[in-house]
């Protein structure tokens, strides 16, 4: 017992003093989370800057719509362009009332909306500028969209009533930001539908509500964090090969063999040490995931611990298989890389399993990392199951047993 504790403590001390090992097992996964989190972060849809171009500011209808949007948007002044349109809006309103386009009812409604809570407002920041200014700002990415009201807008509106032809309004947007563009299209579509109703005074009858089927609202980063944990555990386990081979190569195993220390105690200490680091990695990854990206890890901590240990043990056993066949530390590192890189990219840890082409699916079904990743995703972020947990556990256990058998059979101490 004393020897086991001393050997484990010694292994931990050696590890803590090895900057390279610290980097690869602790700093690297964290860096990965940060990089992936930033690369795949879901777009900010809490607010869009939209520029409005009034080709003719004196066009009452266009000015009216613009002022309406201005009233419903999120900001209290602080515009992208310095135009102070209070006067313009006041005039447009007066004229609209005088012409009978806007009833005092609508006005009251508008005032209510204005007084309403922040939530009732549209997630837009409306500002006005010249055509050139606005399109340039759109190109620069300062604006998410630009709405163009043509010079004869009021006239076209008049015609539309008579001919029953809709008036086209051009909206420029940046199509490269797919998700943001989709959300923005929805918001602006709804806005103009509302204006339509306002103008035609027709009540709205059907009100669709979109509700996602899954209870989960998983972001990319929520998928990534369990995957990164799975990969870290894999590396931690496989790297056992290098450590053991170097102990053998430098004849430390032989030197220990010249003492009464049982080999089982030595092996146990090495495994214990790796499990301690596995716990450290898990805690660190979960804490960073939560602090930086608010990735919530459910309360199935027992299951989480079970799979972390099972995964770590399986990959440590695979590391010992490598150590059984590698003669030098360098060759063990090469073998480990040859195992871990394909596994990393074929096991659906970084990319959804469906992305892997069909002809490669059998490989994916064979890899232990696939099952560890699946299990950790289910246990940590309540992702929908690829395979039931018991099957994940079974496949990992099978790999563990097979690896142990091979390493017991072929491992050489000298």
């Amino acid at each position: 017992m004393r020897a086991l504790r001393a050997l484990t403590v010694a292994a931990v001390k050696e590890y803590v003093r090895d900057r390279m090992a610290l980097f690869w097992t602790l700093a690297f996964p964290i860096l990965f989370i940060l990089i992936f989190g930033l690369l795949f972060s879901d777009p900010d849809i809490s607010g869009f800057r939209v520029g409005v171009v009034l080709e003719d500011p004196e066009d009452m209808a266009a000015a009216g719509f613009y002022c309406q949007m201005e009233a419903m948007d999120r900001d209290e002044g602080g515009e992208a362009f310095p135009a102070d349109d209070r006067e313009l809006c006041q005039r447009a309103l007066e004229r609209a009332i005088a012409a009978g386009y806007v009833s005092s009812d609508t006005l009251r409604l508008r005032q209510q909306e204005q007084a309403g809570s922040e939530e009732a407002r549209l997630p837009l920041y409306i500002s006005r500028g010249s055509r050139e200014e606005v399109l340039e700002a759109l190109k620069q990415g300062d604006l998410a969209a630009a709405i163009l009201f043509p010079a004869d807008f009021q006239l076209q509106m008049g015609r539309a009533f008579v001919r029953r032809e809709p008036v086209p309004i051009t909206i420029y947007y940046d199509a490269s930001q797919t998700t943001r563009a989709q959300v923005l299209q929805g918001i602006l579509g709804g806005l103009f539908e509302r204006f339509d109703q306002m103008v035609t005074q027709r009540p709205r009858i059907l009100a669709p509500r979109f509700q996602p089927l899954q209870a989960e609202h998983l972001r990319t980063i929520d998928y990534m964090v369990p995957g990164i944990l799975a990969v870290s555990l894999m590396q931690l386990g496989l790297f056992a090969a290098g450590t053991v081979v170097s102990l053998r190569e430098r004849q430390i195993l032989k030197r220990l063999g010249a003492t009464p220390l049982p080999r089982s105690v030595l092996v146990t200490s090495q495994v214990l040490f790796r499990l301690i680091i596995a716990v450290l990695q898990t805690v660190l990854i979960i804490v960073v995931g939560w602090l930086v990206f608010r990735v919530e890890v459910g309360n199935r901590l027992g299951m989480l611990a079970l799979f972390v240990f099972l995964g770590a043990l399986t990959f440590i056993a695979m590391g010992y298989v490598v150590a059984a066949f590698a003669r030098t530390e360098e060759s063990s590192v090469a073998i480990v890389q040859a195992i871990q890189f394909p596994m990393m990219f074929l096991s659906g840890v970084y990319f959804p399993i469906d992305f892997v082409p069909d002809w490669m699916q059998p490989v994916l079904y064979a890899l232990p990392l696939t099952y560890l990743g699946d299990a950790l995703r289910q246990v940590m972020v309540e992702a929908s199951a690829w395979k039931p947990l018991w099957l994940d556990g079974l496949v990992l256990s099978a790999w563990l047993v097979v690896s142990l058998t091979i390493s017991f059979r072929f491992f050489r101490w000298e």
């Binding site: 001393a6 010694a10 090895d18 430098r250 004849q251 430390i252 220990l256």
Partner: protein, 306 residues
């Protein structure tokens, strides 16, 4: 003198190679016993069989009255071992490695005591990877002393060390013996064997070709003194010196010629006389006692370092 190691007719073959080919000897309690021979002579294989690290093909090894093959752990608990490679846990300090090894034994010396025994006080808290070669060797001797062993085995303890580090390790080994342990060491340094060992087994091609105290070995093979010199002015090979008075044997090794003689004065006078007559000069001349090196040369026809 009771025997602490008894080896009888030990054999170990690796395919065609007879690493150990029928070796027998005993080591007495409290002596420094040396096994001297060139690289590949079978020294390490023999030692590692005695330590229980390898199995012999045949033969009997008894250590402290225990059969190594049957009770390896009981033997390991009572001996101390230093391997030829002294790589250790590179990122542990001297004290940490000692304490780690102490945990393998039920009874052990204190780390500070061990550190003092090998004069590493100043390096107690240094990582082993930062130690010099000599310091590392001393640490590995300290590790061999952790369990207060009755016998300590040192496999080429001073190989690769500079003369000063070598001398300092010799002192440590002599202290270990004065503290009551038996020391079993292998070496291919003649000087080391002569200086340290009470008895030396000269081993070549897996066989012991001579076994006695260094003085007895030298006396048995050489009553003579050795006259060593170099020659200028004439091809050394082109004339004979064997007919000089009192010379028993002539050896030539490159430019260096060694004459073994029973009468140094007569030989030297004749040597200079012949030099004047035939036109060569004697250079770098010195006269010395015969050494184990000479014994080895006589027994095997080879120098040990080749």
């Amino acid at each position: 003198m009771s025997a602490v190691v008894e080896v009888r007719d030990l054999r170990k073959y690796y395919g065609e190679i007879k690493a150990v080919d029928g070796i027998s000897f005993t080591v007495g309690r409290g002596e420094i016993f040396g096994m001297l021979g060139p690289n590949g002579a079978g020294k390490t294989t023999t030692v590692e069989i005695i330590e229980g690290l390898r199995r012999a093909d045949s033969g009997q090894v008894t250590v402290l009255g225990l059969d190594v093959r049957r009770q390896p752990d009981a033997v390991k608990a009572r001996i101390g071992v230093q391997l030829q490679t002294t790589a250790l846990f590179p990122r542990l300090t001297v004290r940490e490695v000692l304490n780690l090894f102490r945990s393998f034994f039920p009874q052990s010396r204190e780390a500070d005591e061990l550190i003092a025994m090998v004069n590493l006080q100043e390096k107690a808290n240094t990582l082993t990877k930062e130690l010099s070669g000599g310091q590392r060797q001393r640490l590995s001797v300290a590790l061999a002393l952790v369990n207060q062993p009755e016998i300590i085995f040192l496999d080429e303890p001073t190989t690769g060390l500079d003369p000063q580090a070598r001398r300092s390790l010799w002192e440590v080994i002599e202290q270990v013996r004065s503290a009551g342990a038996t020391v079993f060491l292998t070496t291919h340094y003649m000087e080391e064997a002569e200086r340290l060992c009470d008895r030396v087994a000269v081993i070549d091609h897996g066989r012991i070709i001579a076994l006695d105290s260094p003085e007895a070995l030298i006396r048995a093979h050489f009553q003579e003194r050795a006259v060593e010199f170099e020659i200028n002015g004439q091809q050394a090979a082109s004339f004979s010196l064997e007919d000089l008075p009192a010379v028993t044997q002539v050896r030539q090794d490159g430019k260096t010629i060694t004459l073994y003689t029973n009468d140094v004065e007569a030989t030297l006078a004749a040597l200079f006389e012949r030099g004047q007559r035939t036109g060569f000069q004697v250079d770098a001349l010195h006269v010395r006692r015969a050494t184990l090196e000479d014994v080895f040369l006589k027994l095997t026809g080879r120098r040990i370092r080749d």
